[in-house]
């Protein structure tokens, strides 16, 4: 078979400047995704048209759903004289033509390099009467040359609370949850778990219902779903905030803490048993509720499959790449399954990533390769040097999986070639079951494929 990544050598070479096959993309797409999780919101990309077009395309390919957003359509002129007039015109047009409740602006490397001041431009939009009564413009700086799409998501989460959160002085019996850069299905599952716990929550952003919407024969630009203005305003009065995933969610949580004294608990994404345990336990403690039987039962089902199928997980080597919050929880989950995550790469920078992974994997019997601000080329080289039994990552992983003939489980962003991720969660205990089903399926399909006649198993 002809190799798709035939030029990737086994020998590692130090690279200082060239990124090859990135395991991240840029901030604005994360900001756009977060904005889509607000009800009645039109995301707006302050930059040249290409950014917006690329982000919409990528999000659309991942969700197979409409993704609309405005762009300031910078020309060479705007790049010289600044984007204010483009943005003012855009705000006017968006509110006039598309009638959103909110326009949520994020910047790009272009407008950031120029130095456009969003605070000032938005103020001017208000002053010029471009923002209709009762409508909102929120914004976040998301320079593409800092961090990654996860950072952009994080910045827009902060943009949401800094744009909306208020403190009335009256505490509300509710908990804020920032779900992190996860699927709409995950956000829905986090809401279901919280509601099952009897805890009233404000989850933001919330793309469920928006990026996994129904086919109804009628297109709705602003579908049912998303966090409402009222909910977002109320976050300053909440009893606490649970931030899921420190890379994606801690910024907004800390803002609420600092500005409104809403205390926050920064947890890992509830992917896998141990992390979900901590999420449920945190909810329990913050809200002073008992964990209902129904959730303990879901948990027990997950543990049941873990114990029943342990032989198939045990000792299997895994390579994984993706976003740091996802990888941290996934790695912990794999370790809890007696699996061995040996190569772990995120494209997102941040030195605490490697430290966290090293702490999780410290008892493993083999050395673990881990890198933040790494790329898939490096991951592939690691795999060539130490082969693995399983690869977990986004769709781009399929090229490595094919060349190296490794069972492959799609997880993360973007998944461009399969459906399911937006409908079925991987967070929570049920999400853990889904992951186990997928991992087992990949491993057992391989065993079936490679089994000689005499050991092709009926029962597994």
């Amino acid at each position: 078979m002809i190799m798709l990544l035939r030029h990737t050598p086994t020998e590692l070479a130090d690279r200082k400047a060239l990124m090859i096959n990135p395991a991240k993309t840029c901030q604005p797409i994360g900001a756009m995704y977060a904005s889509l999780g607000i009800h009645g919101c039109m995301p707006h990309s302050h930059g040249s048209q290409g950014c917006c077009s690329y982000h919409r395309s990528t999000l659309t390919r991942h969700y197979k759903e409409p993704v609309v957003a405005g762009t300031s359509s910078f020309t060479e002129g705007s790049s010289v004289f600044g984007g204010q007039s483009n943005m003012l015109q855009a705000i006017d047009n968006l509110f006039t033509i598309y009638e959103p409740d909110i326009v949520s602006v994020h910047t790009t490397c272009l407008s950031e390099t120029i130095g456009d001041d969003l605070t000032q431009i938005v103020q001017k939009a208000h002053d010029d009467g471009k923002v209709p009564e009762g409508k909102y413009v929120i914004y976040a700086p998301t320079p593409s040359y800092v961090g990654s799409h996860v950072t952009g998501f994080s910045n827009m989460c902060k943009g949401i609370v800094s744009g909306f959160a208020e403190k009335t002085g009256e505490k509300l019996d509710q908990v804020n949850i920032i779900p992190g850069f996860v699927e709409p299905s995950d956000m829905e599952e986090i809401k279901r778990l919280s509601s099952e716990m009897g805890v009233k929550t404000v989850l933001f952003p919330d793309t469920s219902g928006i990026l996994n919407g129904p086919q109804t024969g009628k297109y709705h630009m602003y579908p049912k779903g998303g966090t409402t203005v009222e909910e977002m305003k109320s976050t300053g009065d909440s009893m606490g905030t649970i931030a899921l995933g420190s890379f994606a969610s801690s910024l907004a949580a800390k803002f609420l803490d600092t500005k409104f004294k809403v205390p926050c608990d920064i947890l890992e994404l509830p992917i896998g048993l141990p992390a979900t345990d901590r999420f449920i336990d945190s909810l329990r403690k913050i809200a002073g509720v008992n964990v209902p039987e129904s959730i303990t039962r879901e948990r027990g089902q997950l543990v049941d499959v873990m114990t029943d199928m342990q032989q198939y997980f045990y000792g299997k080597k895994v390579a994984l790449f993706g976003d740091p919050d996802q990888l941290i929880s996934l790695t912990e989950f794999l370790v809890s399954l007696d699996m061995i995550p040996v190569h772990i790469v995120t494209g997102t920078p941040g030195k605490q990533f490697a430290e966290t992974i090293q702490a999780i994997t410290k008892d493993l019997p083999v050395p673990v390769n881990v890198k933040a601000h790494g790329d898939m080329f490096l991951l592939h080289q690691w795999i060539k040097n130490t082969p693995v039994d399983l690869l977990i990552g986004n769709t781009y992983g399929k090229y490595i999986a094919r060349d190296e003939d490794i069972p492959f489980v799609r997880h993360g962003f973007p998944i461009l070639d399969r459906v399911g991720h937006s409908y079925f969660p991987t967070v929570g205990y049920k999400g853990g079951l889904r992951l186990l089903e997928k991992i087992l399926g990949a491993l057992l399909d391989r065993q079936d494929r490679d089994a000689p006649e005499e050991s092709f198993e009926l029962v597994m």
Binding site: P22, Q49, A90, T96, P143, Y219
Partner: protein, 552 residues
Amino acid sequence: MNSTLTDSVVLERATDKDLHKIKSEILEKYPTKVARKRAKQIVINEPGDSNTIPEIGANIRTVPGILTQRGCCYAGCKGVILGPTRDVINIVHGPVGCSFYAWLTRRNQTSTPSDDAPNYMTYCFTTDMQDENIVFGGEKKLKQAIQEAFDIFHPETISVFSTCPVGLIGDDIHSVCREMKEKLGINIFGFSCEGYKGVSQSAGHHIANNGIFKNVVGLDDTIKGGKFRINLLGEYNIGGDAFEIERILDACGISLISTFSGNSTIEQFANSHTADLNAVMCHRSITYMAEMMEEKYGMPWMKINFIGAEATAKSLRKIAQYFEDEELMARVEEVIATEITPVKEEMEKARALCEGKLAMLFVGGSRAHHYQELFAELGMRTVSAGYEFGHRDDYEGRRVLPSIKVDADSRNIEELSVTKDPEKYRQRKSEEELAKIEAKGVEFREYGGLIQDMKNNTFVIDDISQYETEKLIEALKPDIFCAGIKEKYVIQKSGVPMKQLHSYDYGGPYAGFKGAVNFYRDISRMTNSKVWSYVKAPWEKEPELAATYALG
């Protein structure tokens, strides 16, 4: 383009709806200035004399916030033109995103002869600029990146693409490329295709053409191929289109020296000036190249079109006529005769299911035109069409070119001044010879516009907005809508099947004879699928309750 459609039924109306009313309803919602601008870009093909081609606003700035589907200059340069060439390492100089989004997302196919042959298309290379590179400049990092690419891959060619911030901070990528070219002894060149240049992808095509022409074309004078040697320009091998065209040309005995650019190599580009004819598919993106090559190397160009069975046959005949060779003409007729029968059969089958249905096409810079051929073959009516990044000539025909005023956005794109190459120029046909061929109905340096090929009472809309799309669907209720991935699910949520004409929805090929069959089948599948009948739930169709009992 003289389509089968226009030949027969020029005056037929595509719809009985009052398009003027619809147009004013659409414009009503816009702020005054926007409405004025958009009014020029929304044209109604009037009933009556089809020789009056209305003027359209095109290749002008998009209104901020209007929800355009357009992309940027970088997308046109890297994504469209350089993307499908496998033996070059394309390093995107800038923050990570631009390179990431263009990574394998255009569905250009490439087929290498062996596992030894270079193919870097599956890779994504970027300098991943960080904030310190923005503050202190990125030239050093770019230089280092080129070095690392060379050390690891040993490619024969490296190209570099500037993205938005690079232009602003003033990195001189061209001098970096020159320096590294000298140092490493391989071909290295750059494109200043910052996203903010021009008004759409179109600017990027021009920049890409210029770059390839300057840095690659003419480097290899080896004469390859047989007696009839052509280049195919503007065929990007989406879904294997180029493979099908290659198959047909091969059957006809026509040698393909290079394709700009699909299943292509830098090696072929370097040798392309040795061909004897440039056959241009997507005139929008590549005519620059055809013109410069004619000027410098003396080879004529003609517009051809392999989308549609009839169009394919016609294009083959045109090429054969150019070569004025009886044997070739006979061979071409033979190939057409063999190929066309099964195609016609499939066409009839599909036509029975599709005839009379309505199509809309809003895509690209020539596709919205070409694909009307295929719909016409299915008996379907194109009620509205337009381009994302077309120019006036793409709508009104090349004849309109002299009357187009060059605005600031276009002026910023370099126009190469090209002259005859003292050594390599070779006039393939004299003007007299060309005139003689033209007299037989073959045009050179010419293409028709979309407007003249469309029926009366149809909409032609440039750079259509999200809002206009919605209104149009509501007003004209098409049976199928063709555009790109961004529009795909917006349209489908309205209950209208949507066909992507960039990616073919990961089907195809649609070019040539076999491609036409694929298209017939796909369109008849899409417009006759059972699944759309399930959109409404039974309780929505019949909401009355025959309550056996009510629960407490």
